[in-house]
């Protein structure tokens, strides 16, 4: 039903998006908690910077990643020398690009979720001897779960569609960085590929829809359990 090439492309896309969210989500939760529950000098600025990938052209994000995380990049060179980790022209770079582009979405969703939690519950937990870490782990996070989940799935779907930053940062290498959107792009540049394009587009839509529906269902279930209303 699916050609080996299509399977390769889909598997790569899923892997890239999965890792983008897996690594990005804890960071996003941390950032969201900081923005929702603490104050510090320059908070507005940090908030703005975190949202840049949403508003800046993706190619610029890709170029910034190249400058920072490329082989000679400020961060990239350190990572390579110290840990042997390289993002150059491999799926990890694609995951990084997707993760960065989707990061603001995760932060927003989680932050809204945390802000909706009654802080009086958190102070009650503190009077019961829980330090801030324990309050976060046992009260804030469980209650924020619906938002966390929907943020993760939204980010996953966004990652599946990520193009501009990816192709600018890690180019279009079959098997390594040629995710669904890049594969579709290639086909659109070659006349006569309408059928193949159609297939890939349908597959993209199907995966994204499945993810969105799953998120909605899970979100409702968990939300109901927390609020105690019948599902």
């Amino acid at each position: 039903m699916l050609s080996p090439l299509e399977i390769e492309i889909i598997t790569l896309s899923l892997r890239v998006s999965f890792w983008a969210v897996l690594i990005g989500l804890p960071l996003a939760i941390g950032a969201a908690w900081l923005l929702a529950r603490t104050t510090f000098p320059g908070k507005v600025l940090v908030d703005g910077i975190l949202h840049l990938p949403l508003v800046v052209p993706p190619v610029i994000v890709g170029y910034a990643l190249l400058v920072l995380f490329g082989r000679q990049g400020a961060i990239g060179s350190i990572l390579y020398d110290a840990f042997g980790v390289s993002f150059a022209f491999n799926w990890k770079g694609a995951a990084l690009a997707s993760g960065v582009m989707a990061f603001p979405l995760m932060v927003r969703a989680v932050r809204l979720s945390i802000e909706a939690i009654d802080q009086r519950l958190e102070t009650a937990a503190r009077t019961l001897g829980a330090n801030r870490v324990r309050v976060f782990a046992t009260i804030t996070l469980p209650l924020a779960l619906p938002g966390v989940l929907s943020g993760a799935v939204l980010a996953f779907a966004r990652s599946l569609g990520e193009f501009g930053a990816t192709i600018t940062f890690v180019s279009n290498i079959p098997g390594e960085t040629r995710t669904l959107p890049l594969a579709i792009f290639n086909l659109t540049q070659v006349p006569g590929s309408e059928a193949a394009i159609g297939r890939l587009v349908l597959i993209s839509i199907a995966i994204a829809l499945a993810a969105l529906i799953l998120s909605e269902v899970l979100s409702r279930r968990i939300g109901a359990r927390i609020r105690g209303t019948p599902t």
């Binding site: 490329g70 082989r71 022209f89 180019s171 290498i173 540049q189």
Partner: protein, 260 residues
Amino acid sequence: MMRSLCQSLAAIVVALSGATAGAAQSETVLVFAAASAAPAIRAIADPFTARTGISVTVSGAATSTLAQQIVRGAPAQLVLTAHPRWMTHLSDSRAIDATRRTTLLGNELVLIAPLDGATTLEPSFGFALEAALGRDGRLAIGDPTHVPAGIYARQALTTLGVWASVADRLAPAGNVVAAVTFVARGESPLGIAYRTDAALSDGVRVVGLFPASSHDPVRYDLAPVSANMTPAADAFLNHLRSDAARTVFERYGFRVMAAS
């Protein structure tokens, strides 16, 4: 249907911009140019605008992208492709006035490396390209499936007998300028681009020239987009053939072909 819609839209825009019959009015000319030639055309457009008052907008992108857009009705008046294949495609789709198609420029393919480096490598038959890439380096080129510079590069490497050894060591960029960027940033130890691109970037140096016999001549074809032509566009089209324009093209490193 899309095309006639875009045409109507273009016509409305033209009408709204206050065009009146009989004089060279449409105030803007939109040129779709291959990414590698866009900077030169902009440099030519500025004095032209100053002189005539006609403003020229140059949209530079991969030839393949531009061609697809024109086929679907983009409102450009002139198109400059980096590979004849695409102009032929446009001609077959009746998007351009084939009678007025000319080859405007020629270019050369070079092997480039980051500026601070000592690699020397002359592209010749069987040259040690794969070895020069090192353990995990990748050769940055325009995507050979559709970017003209990539198509020429693949051809050259095939002719020189080294394509098979580097076919899975490529970094296929979306356009040739992006490929140059990869090399300039040191992300790739080597890349293939036009001589003109290498000259524009101050992060790369030319390591060697691909022999002209190793690939089809790099030809930049110029043609008007039939449906969108205006007197102002005509004026600019002619200006591109002028001596003043030739001086600029040659300064950028292009070869200017005689009008056929």
